[in-house]
């Protein structure tokens, strides 16, 4: 898999920490591999919306990658609950069902962005940089590790 210039947290230069929420183990592993190529750190995983809320409280991630169609509680509802409690939360919806109503509903209820599956690493990478905004910095390879 292609390697990307690492995206770090501006405040302390540490790797961006991700919570990955998807009922598919395959999808979670796939996203975890991409996160690694972005220089990020997987701090938690959840297989449904309810667990995602608990995991968010426990891990306090920089970014949540959240599927939509999941058992118990769907991703959009979980995103809304997380953002209500943590207005600073950065939730990116990652779903194969990307029709307009779904995207609008997710954004209206607190998600910051939407990425359609199958996820292209280069697309997710750009979204991560955009969502992190000034709180993220792309480590120049010449200065990385200095």
């Amino acid at each position: 898999m292609e390697q990307f210039v690492p995206v770090k947290r501006s405040k302390d230069g540490q790797p961006v920490r991700y919570l990955v929420v998807d009922d598919s183990v395959f999808a979670r592993k796939n996203l975890a591999r991409m996160i690694e190529t972005f220089g990020g750190q997987l701090c938690g995983e959840a297989g449904d919306g309810m667990s995602a809320i608990t995991e968010y409280d426990r891990t306090n991630p920089d970014i949540v990658l959240m599927d939509i169609t999941m058992p118990q509680m769907e991703g959009i509802e979980a995103a809304e609950k997380i953002v209500q409690k943590h207005p600073e939360a950065r939730v990116v919806m990652v779903s194969s069902v990307g029709y307009q109503e779904n995207i609008v509903a997710a954004l209206q209820r607190g998600a910051r962005h939407f990425v359609q599956k199958p996820v292209k690493p280069e697309v997710l990478y750009e979204v991560i940089k955009y969502v992190m905004g000034d709180d993220g910095t792309v480590a120049n390879s010449a200065t990385a590790g200095v």
């Binding site: 898999m1 009922d23 598919s24 183990v25 395959f26 999808a27 592993k29 796939n30 591999r33 169609t69 058992p71 779903s95 194969s96 069902v97 990307g98 029709y99 307009q100 109503e101 359609q116 599956k117 199958p118 292209k120």
Partner: protein, 166 residues
Amino acid sequence: MKMELIQPFINAADAVLAQGLQCSMSIGNLSMEAEAYRRKGIAALIWVTGDIEGRIILDLDPETAVRVASKFAGTELPETDSLVRETVFELANQVIGNAVTVLNNEGFHFRVHPPVLHTSDDGPKSSEDTEALVICFETGIGEVFMNIALRYGQSHRSEHAAAVGQ
């Protein structure tokens, strides 16, 4: 079965498989099946209900499923690994999700149910108004079968009947 319902699924499968497998691909045999579907190996079945109703099966023989899952995992997986089944499920989810996106943006509203493992050798039989179309995608690492049996839902049929009756 209307081609306007089928084409988004073919396009989605083509795109999802080509991107995921990073290999050349072509559409091989395409056939209508009136009889029950004969499962090839590891099969994910997804039901849809609403303006369009029916089911889609994504089916790979066990050897192809292992090769596909290994390709996605970036490492050789044994046939017994649960990730093999998970991969087939997620591929089915992605194909159907992408097709649903297109159909939804065209005004069809329906619900996609979570995939279930299709374990019986025979699939649900086609019915008078729900022929099944079987498409074989020939990838560089094996054949992927997609069996689609869809029809317009009750609400859509009622609207159509009313329109014809006017």
